[in-house]
C-alpha cells in the first residue's frame, strides 16, 4: 500500500506491473471509489515527464495523457479542435476541467464521455506504454464497451495523437443535458467539415450517449459529401443514422434520443458551417 507519483515513465510502468491503480485528475477515480476504503497502491501519473501538455510536430498534435481539459481550452490549436474545446467547456464545470484529463475521459469509457465524440471526429489514436514498449490504437479500438477499454494490465495511456488537420477544417460540438453546467449528456454530437464554395466536404460526425460507445456515422457522412450547407438539414434522415442503440435511462428515453440525435447533428453542422 503506497502512493507513488513518479516523474519517470519507467517507474510508473514498474508500479503498474505491480498492480497499482492509476489516478490523474481524480474526477472519476474518487466518485467510483465512493465511501469504500482503498487498499492498494495508487499511482499518480500527473508528474510524469512528457505526460502533460500539448505539442505539435510534422505528424500531428500530441495531447499528453495527463493534460487537463482546461489546458485544452487554453491551447492554441487549429479550428478542427474547436469542437474538442467546446466539449471541454461542457465537461462538468471549471473545477472538473481544471483536474480531469483527456486520457482519463477515454479510460473511464462512459457512454456519455463528452471528450470521445470530438476525438473520434479528429481521428485520434491512443498511445499506450507497456512492458513490451508502446503501441497505438485507434479510438474505436481502444474504447471497446461500456466502462471497457483495451488497456491491459501493466499498461498506461501516455498520449492521444491527432493527425494534422487541414487548416480550413471547421468543427463544432453540441451537448444536450437537462440543466446548464455539471450535467451528464443525454446525447452529444461532434462534427467536422470543410467548406468550399458553399458546399461541405470531408464531413465527420460522431455521436455519444446513444450507443454503448460513441461512434462515427459514416453512412451519413458520405451522404452529406458535397451538399450545400442549406441542404444539410433535410439530408439528415433517420435511415442514414445507422448503428446507434439508444437506451432508456434516468436522463431520457430511447425514443427521445433517437429524435434528438438528428436534430443535434443539424445544429452542430450549422454551428460548424456558420460564420
Amino acid at each position: 500500500m503506497e502512493y507513488i507519483a513518479p516523474t519517470r515513465l519507467d517507474d510508473a510502468l514498474a508500479a503498474r506491473r505491480a498492480g497499482a491503480s492509476i489516478v490523474a485528475g481524480g474526477t472519476d477515480w474518487f466518485p467510483a471509489k465512493g465511501e469504500a476504503p482503498f487498499s492498494g497502491t495508487l499511482l499518480d501519473i500527473t508528474r510524469i515527464e512528457g505526460l502533460r501538455g500539448i505539442t505539435t510536430d510534422a505528424a500531428g498534435i500530441r495531447i499528453g495523457a495527463a493534460t487537463t481539459w482546461s489546458e485544452v481550452i487554453r491551447a492554441d490549436l487549429p479550428s478542427a479542435f474547436d469542437g474538442l474545446k467546446a466539449a471541454a467547456r461542457e465537461i462538468g464545470a471549471v473545477q472538473i476541467q481544471n483536474a480531469g484529463t483527456v486520457a482519463g475521459n477515454l479510460c473511464n469509457a462512459s457512454p456519455a464521455a463528452d471528450g470521445i465524440p470530438p476525438l473520434l471526429a479528429l481521428d485520434a489514436t491512443v498511445e499506450l506504454a507497456g512492458p513490451e514498449g508502446t503501441r497505438r490504437l485507434t479510438l474505436p479500438d481502444f474504447v471497446t464497451g461500456v466502462r471497457r477499454t483495451a488497456l491491459e494490465a501493466g499498461e498506461i495511456v501516455t498520449a492521444i495523437h491527432v493527425p494534422t488537420p487541414e487548416a480550413a477544417v471547421r468543427s463544432a460540438f453540441v451537448k444536450l443535458g437537462a440543466r446548464r453546467y455539471l450535467v451528464i449528456s443525454i446525447v452529444m454530437v461532434a462534427v467536422q467539415l470543410s467548406l468550399r464554395a458553399g458546399r461541405v466536404h470531408d464531413v465527420r460526425i460522431a455521436v455519444g450517449a446513444a450507443s454503448p460507445v460513441a461512434r462515427r456515422l459514416q453512412e451519413l457522412e458520405a451522404a452529406l459529401e458535397g451538399l450545400a450547407l442549406a441542404d444539410l438539414p433535410v439530408a439528415i434522415t433517420p435511415d442514414r443514422i445507422a448503428g446507434l442503440a439508444p437506451i432508456d435511462d434516468i436522463r431520457a428515453d430511447a425514443a427521445y434520443r433517437r429524435e434528438a440525435v438528428p436534430e443535434a447533428i443539424r445544429r452542430a453542422l450549422q454551428l460548424a458551417g456558420g460564420d
Binding site: 465512493g34 487498499s39 429524435e259 443535434a264
Partner: protein, 915 residues
C-alpha cells in the same frame, strides 16, 4: 521515485503556511485539510465533484478538494476561504459584497462560491454575468437561487462603496450573523466534533424490502481492530420507534427482522476514526433475503399487497377532507368545466450540508450537537428512543447548511446518541451524500385529479380535488400533508361548493415528509392547470379569471374561515398585471417570427397558512439585562439560512426600543433558550416574532417600571448604563447596582405566543390558521420545440408578506423558493435506488435560474408582529405551475407528469402536433 506517502509525510503550503500531514492512501485532499489540518472552512457536500462546496485553490486553480488525492498536494500551494479572506483583496471584497447582497443564506456553499469567485476575479476584475456563471457553475447552492451570488460577484469590485443598511425594522439590514458565513468560521454539523471523537457509520438495507439476519457481530467486532461496538435494535433502551406526529411514531431506529425501504438502518458501527475510514461495511455479516416491494401507491393498494404496518389496512396511512357546499351540484350548474390530472415525483431537499453532528455524555447528561430545524422536538424524540428523561438531553444545534423540511426529523441523532451512551466517548457521524438522499425524507409524490367549473361570468361554481400521496415506508409528516392539502387545494380563491380529499399511502420507498409547502406545491400544480384550462374554455384572460375569483376580505375560505383584513392575493395578482400584459405582447411577437423556439408566459397563485394546522405551536422568547448593562436575547428559532437570527432580533429590538446591533444573541440551545418551536410551516417570523415582540415590550416595561418612567419614555444603552428619557427627564439605571437573579440578569422578560386557531370538524370546517400569506408568480419561458428543452427567461414574483421585517431577507426567500420551484417543474426526480447522488438527481445550477423580479407587498396581518406574515413556503408554491402554464401557452403541449424533462416535454409536444 519521488514520493512514498507511507514513508514521507505530505508537505505543502496551506494558506501561506508550510504544513505536513500523513494521509491514508486513497484519502481525499478535502479530508486531509479538514481532519488533519483543521481547515474546517472546506465543506464537503458530495465527495464526487457534483457540488463544488469543497473548492480550494491549488496553485491558483479552482479544484474540488474531494477529487484530489491528498498526497498530490505535495509541494503545491493550497488556499482555502479562511486564508484567502485573511490575505487576498479579492476575497475581502467578496466577503463584503456577499454580505451586502445577501449572497450567503445558510452559508454552506459560500466557501466554494467565494473561492471560485476569487479565481475569476484575479483574471477578470469586473466580470459579466455570463463569466460569473461559467466560473461558479460548478458550485451548487440550494438556498439563494443564485441571483444574489451573481450580483455579489459582479459588484465585488465596488465593495468599498457598499454601505451597510440600518438595522431598523423594515430596513434591508445585513445578517447579524453574516460575517462568519463569508470568512469560513461558521461551524456546521460536521465541523464541531472534538478531536479524537469516535466515528459512527450506519449499516443499511441494500434492498427496497428484505428479511435479514445477522451473523456473529461480536466476533466481527473482536476481529476488527479499532471497532468499538456494533449497535442493533437490541441496544435501543427505550422504544425502537420515532416519528413527528403523535400517534404516528412508526419508524424504528434499527429495523427488526425486515426492512421497509432501501437504505433503512439495521445496525450502527462505532470505532476509532482511522479504523472506521478503513472499514469495509460490506464485510459485516448480514444475510439478506430480498422480498417483493411495492414502489407505487397503486401497487401498494392492490389486493393482496404486502402490508407495511399492521394497523393501516390497505397501506392507507391516513386521509384528509375538506367539504363545503355541494361540489357536484356546483359542477353540474357550471357553464364551463375543466379538469387536470397531474403526477409529481419524489423531490429531494438536496441541501448541500448532509446530516451531521456529534453526541457526548457530559456529567450524566446527553449532549447532541447537530444540524437541525427542530431542537426541542429532537429532544422529545430522543427521550422516547433512549429511555432518558427529557431533562437529561441537551440539543445544541450547530449552524444548519440548509433544511427545507427534512432536518425536522430525527436522522443521525439516535445513532450518535446511542453510540455515545454505549462507549462513553464523543461520537460523530456525517451522512454520505448517498445516505442523505437515500434515507431522509422527501417531498411526497402526488397523483392528483382536479375538476372545476364556472358560470358564464367566470365565477367558480365548484371544485373537486382528489389526491393520493406516496408517503413512503413511514409516516413522518405524511399526516400533515394529508391535512394541509385539502385546506389549501382551492388555492387563494373563493369557491363555496368544494370537496377535497387526500390520501397518504405507504410504499417501500424512503419516507416522505416535510418539504417547503407540505403537499401544497403539488396540489397547486394541478389546481392552477385546471384554472388555466377553465379560463380557456370560458374565453377569459388567465389573469382576469384569477382576479375575478381571488379570495377577498370578508369571504369565507373553503374551511369557512373569514378574514376581515389581510387577504393579499388580489394585490399580488394585480402587481403582475404590467408584466403579464407586456409578456403576452412580446411572446406573441416573438412567436410570430416563426422558428424552432417558442415563447410563452404563465401565471399562478398560491397561499399558505402559517403555523401548525389547528394545533397549538407556541414559541417562547426570553431576554435579560445583565449587570454590565448588556441586553441578552435568548433566541430559540433555528436559523437554517432564512434569517431568523436577524429577523427575530430586529423585531425584539424594535419592541424594546434599542438598535439590534446592541443585542447579545444567545442560542438556540435547549439548555439556554426556551422552546421557539420548529423552523417549519413558515411560522418563525410570525409566531416566534410575536413572542419576541412581547418579550421586547415586557423588558421595556420592566425598565420603565424600575426607572419609574411613563410608557412613552425612550430607552438607550451606553457604557453599561441604561438611560431612560421621559419628557425631558433622564433616569440613569446602573445595572451593576441592581440585584442579579440566578442567571445573572437584573431585569428579565419571557413571553410566549401561540396563534389563535380552532379545531376543524369532520368536513374540515373551522379555523386552521391565524394567518395566511399570499403569492403570485409569472414565468416567461422559451421552448426549444425540436428538443423539448425549456429555458425560463424571467420570473416575476409578487408576495404579500404583511410587513417586510427585512426586505433583503424577504427577497432571499423569494429567490430560493423560485429556484426550488423551477427545479421541481423541470428536473428534480428522486428514484429510489437510482438517483442517490447529485449528478443523477439534478437541482438547478447558477446557469438555470433566470432574472427574478420581486414585488414585496405589505398588507398587514392583524395577528402578525408589526403586521408580518410568514413567507418560507409561499415562495415555492406558484413557481412550478407558472412555468408549466408558460410552456402550455407557448406550445399547446399538455403536461401530465413532473418533472418536465426534455424527453417528457418532447413526447407532449408530439402529442400536441409539433413534429
Amino acid at each position: 521515485m519521488d514520493q512514498h506517502a507511507a514513508a514521507t509525510p505530505t508537505q505543502f503550503l496551506l494558506n501561506g503556511t508550510e504544513v505536513k500531514a500523513a494521509p491514508r492512501i486513497g484519502e481525499r485532499l478535502s479530508e486531509m485539510l479538514r481532519e488533519r489540518l483543521g481547515a474546517r472552512d472546506v465543506k464537503i457536500g458530495c465527495n464526487a465533484g457534483d457540488c463544488g462546496a469543497c473548492t480550494v485553490l491549488v496553485d491558483d486553480e479552482a479544484l474540488c478538494a474531494c477529487l484530489m488525492p491528498a498526497q498530490a498536494a505535495a509541494g503545491r500551494r493550497v488556499d482555502t476561504l479562511s486564508g484567502l479572506v485573511a490575505q487576498d483583496p479579492d476575497a475581502q471584497r467578496l466577503a463584503e459584497s456577499f454580505q451586502h447582497h445577501q449572497a450567503a443564506q445558510c452559508g454552506i456553499c459560500t466557501p466554494g462560491m467565494m473561492v471560485s469567485a476569487v479565481a475569476l476575479l484575479r483574471e477578470v476584475p469586473q466580470p459579466s454575468e455570463g463569466e460569473v456563471a461559467d466560473a461558479l457553475g460548478g458550485v451548487l447552492c440550494r438556498c439563494t437561487g443564485y441571483r444574489s451570488i451573481l450580483r455579489a460577484v459582479q459588484m465585488a469590485h465596488a465593495a468599498d462603496t457598499l454601505a451597510p443598511a440600518p438595522q431598523d425594522l423594515g430596513a434591508p439590514a445585513r445578517r447579524l450573523d453574516g460575517r462568519a458565513k463569508v470568512t469560513g468560521t461558521e461551524r456546521f454539523g460536521d465541523d464541531v466534533a472534538p478531536e479524537g471523537a469516535l466515528v459512527a457509520r450506519v449499516l443499511r438495507s441494500p434492498h427496497h424490502r428484505a428479511r435479514f439476519t445477522f451473523g456473529d457481530l461480536d466476533a466481527f467486532v473482536a476481529a476488527t481492530p479499532g471497532l468499538a461496538a456494533i449497535l442493533t435494535a437490541a441496544d435501543v433502551p427505550g422504544e425502537n420507534r420515532f416519528g413527528v406526529i403523535p400517534g404516528f411514531e412508526d419508524q424504528p431506529v434499527f429495523a427488526e427482522g425486515e426492512t421497509r425501504f432501501r437504505g433503512e438502518a439495521v445496525a450502527c458501527l462505532v470505532g476509532e476514526a482511522e479504523a472506521m475510514a478503513r472499514l469495509d461495511l460490506s464485510a459485516v455479516p448480514v444475510d439478506w433475503t430480498p422480498l417483493e416491494a411495492h414502489l407505487s401507491p397503486a401497487a401498494a393498494q392492490e389486493e393482496g399487497a404486502a402490508q407495511l404496518h399492521d394497523t393501516r389496512a390497505g397501506n392507507v396511512m391516513c386521509e384528509g377532507r375538506v367539504r363545503c357546499g355541494d361540489a357536484e351540484a356546483g359542477l353540474a350548474r357550471a357553464a364551463a368545466t375543466a379538469e387536470a390530472e397531474i403526477e409529481t415525483a419524489f423531490v429531494e431537499h438536496a441541501y448541500i450540508e448532509p446530516e451531521a453532528g456529534y453526541a457526548e455524555m457530559v456529567e450524566g447528561r446527553l449532549h447532541v450537537h447537530v444540524t437541525t430545524q427542530a431542537p426541542a422536538m429532537n429532544a422529545d424524540g430522543l427521550s422516547r428512543v433512549l429511555g432518558l428523561p427529557r431533562a437529561s438531553i441537551r440539543i445544541a444545534p450547530t449552524a444548519v447548511g440548509g433544511g427545507f423540511g427534512s432536518k425536522l426529523d430525527l436522522s443521525l441523532h439516535p445513532y450518535i446518541a446511542l453510540a455515545a451512551m454505549k462507549t462513553g466517548r464523543p461520537v460523530r457521524l456525517c451522512y454520505s451524500r448517498t445516505e442523505s438522499i437515500a434515507t431522509t425524507t422527501k417531498r411526497h409524490p402526488a397523483s392528483i385529479r382536479v375538476r372545476v367549473g364556472a358560470d358564464d361570468s367566470g365565477r367558480l361554481t365548484g371544485m373537486i380535488f382528489e389526491g393520493t400521496f406516496d408517503t413512503g415506508a413511514y409516516a413522518s409528516w405524511g399526516p400533515t400533508v394529508a391535512n394541509r392539502v385539502p385546506i389549501h387545494a382551492s388555492g387563494p380563491y373563493h369557491v363555496r361548493d368544494y370537496t377535497a380529499r387526500s390520501r397518504a399511502v405507504h410504499t417501500h420507498a424512503a419516507p416522505s415528509g416535510a418539504f417547503r409547502g407540505f403537499g401544497v406545491p403539488q396540489s397547486a400544480v394541478a389546481q392552477e392547470l385546471a384554472f388555466d384550462r377553465l379560463a380557456d374554455a370560458l374565453g377569459q384572460d388567465a389573469l382576469d379569471f384569477r382576479l375575478l375569483n381571488a379570495l377577498r376580505d370578508g369571504q369565507p375560505t373553503v374551511c369557512g374561515q373569514v378574514f376581515d383584513s389581510g387577504t393579499g392575493i388580489t394585490a399580488c395578482l394585480e402587481a403582475l398585471r404590467p408584466a403579464w400584459t407586456d409578456a403576452l405582447r412580446t411572446t406573441a411577437a416573438f412567436n410570430d417570427a416563426g422558428g424552432r423556439l417558442r415563447r410563452g408566459v404563465g401565471i399562478a397563485a398560491g397561499w399558505y397558512g402559517c403555523g401548525n394546522t389547528s394545533l397549538p405551536n407556541p414559541s417562547t422568547v426570553k431576554a435579560g439585562i445583565d449587570r454590565e448593562g448588556r441586553v441578552v436575547l435568548h433566541q430559540g428559532a433555528m436559523d437554517i439560512g432564512q434569517g431568523s437570527n436577524t429577523v427575530i432580533a430586529q423585531i425584539f429590538a424594535r419592541a424594546l426600543g434599542v438598535p439590534a446591533s446592541e443585542l447579545v444573541l444567545v442560542g438556540p440551545d435547549t439548555d439556554v433558550t426556551p422552546d421557539a418551536g420548529k423552523t417549519s410551516a413558515s411560522r418563525q417570523t410570525f409566531v416566534t416574532g410575536n413572542a419576541a415582540k412581547r418579550a421586547g415590550e415586557a423588558l421595556r416595561a420592566a425598565i420603565l417600571r424600575t426607572a419609574n418612567a411613563g410608557p412613552e419614555a425612550a430607552v438607550t444603552l451606553s457604557g453599561g448604563t441604561i438611560h431612560v428619557e421621559d419628557g425631558g427627564r433622564v433616569h440613569r439605571l446602573d445595572p451593576a447596582q441592581l440585584a442579579p437573579d440566578a442567571e445573572g440578569y437584573v431585569l428579565r422578560a419571557q413571553e410566549s405566543y401561540d396563534p389563535p386557531t380552532e379545531p376543524l370538524d369532520a368536513d374540515g370546517q373551522g379555523v386552521p390558521y391565524a394567518q395566511f400569506g399570499y403569492a403570485a408568480h409569472l414565468a416567461v419561458v422559451e421552448v426549444d420545440i425540436p428538443l423539448g428543452r425549456v429555458r425560463p427567461l424571467r420570473i416575476v414574483a409578487a408576495h404579500d408578506v404583511g410587513r417586510a421585517i427585512n426586505p433583503l431577507l424577504v427577497e432571499g426567500q423569494i429567490h430560493g423558493g423560485v429556484a426550488q420551484g423551477l427545479g421541481m417543474a423541470l428536473m428534480e426526480e428522486f428514484v429510489p435506488g437510482r438517483t442517490e447522488n447529485l449528478h443523477d438527481y439534478l437541482i438547478p445550477t447558477i446557469g438555470d435560474v433566470p432574472e427574478i423580479e420581486s414585488h414585496i407587498l405589505e398588507i398587514p396581518d392583524p395577528h402578525g408582529p408589526y403586521g408580518a406574515k410568514g413567507l418560507g413556503e409561499h415562495a415555492l408554491i406558484p413557481t412550478a405551475p407558472a412555468i408549466l402554464g408558460a410552456v402550455r401557452r407557448a406550445t399547446g403541449a399538455e403536461v401530465t407528469r413532473l418533472p418536465l424533462t426534455p424527453a417528457r416535454l418532447r413526447a407532449a409536444l408530439r402529442e400536441a402536433g409539433h413534429a
